[in-house]
Symmetry: C2
Amino acid sequence: MPETGMCACETVFVDEEKVRTVQENISPDETLHILANTFKLLGEPTRLKILLALSIEELCVCDIASLLGITRSAISHQLRLLKSSRLVKFRRAGKMVYYSLDDQHVKHLLKDGLEHLND
Amino acid sequence: MPETGMCACETVFVDEEKVRTVQENISPDETLHILANTFKLLGEPTRLKILLALSIEELCVCDIASLLGITRSAISHQLRLLKSSRLVKFRRAGKMVYYSLDDQHVKHLLKDGLEHLND
DNA sequence: CAAACGATTGAATATATGTTCACATGTAAT
DNA sequence: ATTACATGTGAACATATATTCAATCGTTTG
């Protein structure tokens, strides 16, 4: 005989309704993975610093490498990830490639994240 | 003789001023690491799903485990991380422990993240 | 065309981390 | 107290990934 307020454990008492409700109201797995991927990209010091830097000013690979103190190659690898998820865009100018934030949402996410720290 | 608009590369042409400006305006490394850690916690499907579920309703460990289809142990490990970063809080009710979001910032981050997907 | 140089890519390596299993802890009921 | 059960923890393992080095690509300039 099921009781209300119990959890979905291995016992006979399972609040199936509660779990089902959440199950139905949560975002679909595909959306969820895309969202997780976006947050993951922000969740790494190197990439986050790149994005924060680009939120201030357009920069080339060398500028960023100099700023972070790591290899241009490493920066390039990270920019590739950020590029493929549409978080940054780029333009060529001769031999250089200048990177900048792709849209405003990223900037908002960064801002909201910083606000979360001061609670 | 330095030129303007050049980047901080290995050549003699280095836009030190540009890099210095960004350097000074970017968040300090400590802030940056804390922020990165927050995003990293959101940037993993299991944890993100936990948080999205908790944004709908308070749940115990078993409910979440049942919802995600992974071990209670795994859930517990993830909740420990989320707890230590103040993203979730908990209350005991007998043998059960009910988890919920710690503050509204998390919910906002989730919402903003989802909005980012529809651009 | 050839040299120079910024950027990119692939392989390799070191490190981080998500999950599970086995066991420990805490609370409630008998 | 002893048992039952939800949760927490530590070790182990598999996997993911950030960085570097070496080589290549693209563009510009001699």
